[in-house]
């Protein structure tokens, strides 16, 4: 091994400028590959973060406007979800697939007051189960519990950002638990603080749905029914389920079973599936783009190796005349090619990773306002060890390919002809 590297070193020494110029192309190719992958990861991480606030196997159901007349009723009728829909969702009809069912209603903005501090908030009436379904992370205290629901207590769970504003920017959440906050004439007791998801501005404070319905005199009304499910793996299975579900709920609202507008279903599972598929495609496309860029470098390496072989024809002839096998000669060329490719490739990779870090610290957490929601477009645009490993593999393969044709050429050199060159 040491001998091999010494040979390579000697050879590269003799052609420094040429090697560096070619190496630059390889470094550039890998640099581009890493930066592309880093940027792609940034995009996909943002996607994922925007999406992973919810358990991935949930569907959210909203009311809509009927799109066709049915049983004497006109189209364009507004469908309101109610307790019966929850019961239906929980019933035996769907029990093969549906697990937990919950519902929410959101209103706002209200001005929440604590002493001389106040903050404008949306309030969401919900069931205790929302904690798991929406993956809410508690920082202090507890979430809404069944007792709150049963006794219609005026308990409120604040988001950390609202809590901070009520505490003049502080984050001593424990001191807030048990305090009373008020909006209009309603006085609420803070029972918990949950972590605000930075990626969305849809920040709400949670209260028991039963209390909420009482205050607004909206018994038997929900904005949104959310349920978790299992056993629906393919897109077709999901579609089939959604169709059946709509038919049942539509009917209970006297809407046509096949009316597509009466209910809106947001299936986070299929959405995630599509997103994963999409990110897989993006990743593949970026690799292809990067590898194509790299190809220029590889052709360059192949070229200088060809020139090298030509220049060293006589030397290889001598080596063969004293007992070098074709394999030994090939090894020499391919090892040199891989060394050049890998060395400059790693330089490119390190520079690319530095560039990714710079990206991370400049545009790394940038977000866009889209459809009234704050959506992150870039999160942690860096590449991981898996990419470093992948790139290493690519470099070794690339170096071998680049060296292959020159190496074969060198191996085929016939000693007498090579030695003839001098005479």
């Amino acid at each position: 091994m040491k001998d091999l590297f010494q040979e390579i070193w000697e050879s590269i020494q003799r052609n420094k400028l040429r090697t560096v110029l070619t190496g630059f192309a390889v470094a550039w190719g890998i640099f581009i590959l890493i930066v592309l992958l880093g940027a792609g990861n940034g995009l996909m991480n943002a996607f994922m973060r925007n999406g992973d606030e919810f358990a991935s196997n949930t569907m959210a159901v909203y009311g809509g406007y009927t799109s066709k007349p049915y049983e004497g009723l006109q189209e364009g009728r507004w469908i309101e979800l109610n307790d019966r829909d929850i019961t239906l969702t929980e019933s035996a009809i769907f029990s093969d697939y549906v697990d937990d069912v919950t519902a929410t209603t959101t209103k706002g903005p209200f001005v929440l007051v604590l002493g001389d501090r106040h903050v404008s908030v949306d309030v969401c009436g919900c069931y205790p189960k929302l904690l798991e379904i929406n993956k809410i992370e508690m920082l202090e205290g507890r979430f809404i519990n069944p007792l709150d629901m049963q006794q219609k207590r005026k308990s409120i769970v604040l988001s950390a950002s609202h809590a901070q504003q009520l505490m003049n920017g502080g984050d001593d959440y424990p001191s807030l638990i048990g305090k009373s906050v008020s909006w209009n004439d309603n006085v609420w007791q803070v029972v918990g603080v949950y972590k605000t998801d930075e990626s969305t501005q849809r920040v709400q404070d949670y209260v028991p749905l039963s209390t909420f319905q009482l205050i607004f005199n909206e018994q038997n009304y929900e904005d949104e029914i959310i349920f978790t499910f299992h056993g629906l793996e393919t897109e077709q299975e999901n579609e089939q389920f959604e169709r059946n579900y709509k038919a049942v709920i539509n009917k209970s609202h006297k809407a046509a079973p096949d009316d597509d507008g009466a209910l809106w279903i947001w299936n986070r599972f299929t959405q995630n599936q599509q997103m994963n598929k999409g990110s897989g495609i993006i990743r593949k496309a970026l690799w292809i783009l990067g590898v194509l860029t790299l190809l220029g470098g590889i052709v360059g390496v192949s070229n200088i190796m060809l020139i090298t072989v030509k220049e060293r024809t006589q030397e290889f002839g001598i080596r063969k005349s004293i007992g070098a096998t074709p394999g030994a000669i090939m090894k020499l060329i391919i090892a040199e090619s891989v060394t050049i490719t890998a060395f400059f490739g790693y330089i490119g990779m390190v520079l690319g990773m530095v560039a990714c870090e710079i990206m991370k610290h400049t545009v790394g957490e940038s977000s866009l306002d889209m459809f009234g929601e704050n959506v992150q477009v870039f999160v942690n645009p860096t590449v991981g060890l898996d990419v470093a490993f992948g790139v290493t593999l690519v470099l070794i393969i690339a170096g071998t390919l680049a060296g292959m044709s020159p190496a074969l050429k060198a191996a085929r050199i016939r000693p007498i002809e090579a030695l003839h060159d001098t005479k």
Binding site: E10, G317, S321, I322, A324, R414, P415, I416, T422
Partner: protein, 240 residues
């Protein structure tokens, strides 16, 4: 017999086919010191390249130490060249970016001998040829005679059965030529190395025990020269 050639034919097919060897029969025994003489273009180098397995032949048989040298793969050929044959060229054919000692140890590298052992053996050979001080010099820093002695050291380091030399003195002045021929003679006398020298210098041929003449692609007369009187220029002289 160490070397047995029977009815060897060789034709070069570059453009005009050129029938160079037209049925060479030749036997050379272990420990012989032989020279091959002939006019320019008579096929001396061609014959020596075939003997050294650097080139192949079209017809006939070549037995080297009882082994038929025909239809060898490149790998087998490399193996024989490495183990059995040492080659010395008119133009030295040292690797220019390697020092003398590195050049000498290279055949051992292809035998898989370790670095340290290799270096030791190479130094030993250089010392024996009076080149110890030149071990770390590059070929272009050495005189022709020194280079040729490095080349001979490289050819001998694997302790081959045969040393083949194609006009080893062709690029040297007469004084250095004498030195090189004395070295070869010494190797033949003291180490019983089988040596075959191609030359068209009668002085060089006169150093050998047997002179084989090649003419028109076949072996002509073979002169026994144990008294070394063959040269018209007298004993132990090399005239340029």
């Amino acid at each position: 017999m160490l070397i047995e050639l029977k009815d060897i034919h060789k034709t070069y097919n570059k453009g005009q086919p050129l029938h160079v060897l037209k049925g060479v029969d030749l036997e050379i025994g272990q420990g012989e010191f032989v020279s091959i003489m002939g006019a320019s273009g008579s096929g001396k180098s061609t014959l020596l390249n075939i003997l050294g397995i650097l080139d192949n032949y079209d017809e006939g048989t070549y037995y080297l130490d009882g082994q038929l040298i025909k239809y060898l793969s490149e790998k087998e050929a490399a193996h024989y060249r490495n183990k059995m044959i040492g080659f010395v060229f008119q133009s030295f054919n040292l690797i220019s970016f390697k020092t003398a000692v590195e050049n000498v140890e290279l055949p051992l590298f292809y035998q898989g001998v370790g670095r340290k052992k290799r270096r030791e053996m190479a130094m030993e050979y250089l010392e024996r040829f009076g080149l110890a001080d030149w071990a770390l010099h590059y070929p272009n820093e050495m005189s022709g005679g020194q280079k040729q002695r490095v080349a001979i050291a490289r050819a001998l380091i694997t302790q081959p059965r045969i040393l083949l030399a194609d006009e080893p003195t062709g690029a040297l002045d007469s004084k250095t030529s004498v030195d090189v021929m004395e070295l070869l003679t010494k190797l033949y006398r003291e180490e019983k190395v089988t040596i075959i020298v191609v030359t068209h210098e009668s002085g060089v041929a006169n150093c050998t025990d047997k002179i084989i003449h090649i003419k028109d692609g076949i072996i002509g007369e073979t002169t026994l020269n144990e008294q070394h009187h063959a040269s018209v220029f007298g004993t132990d002289t090399i005239i340029k």
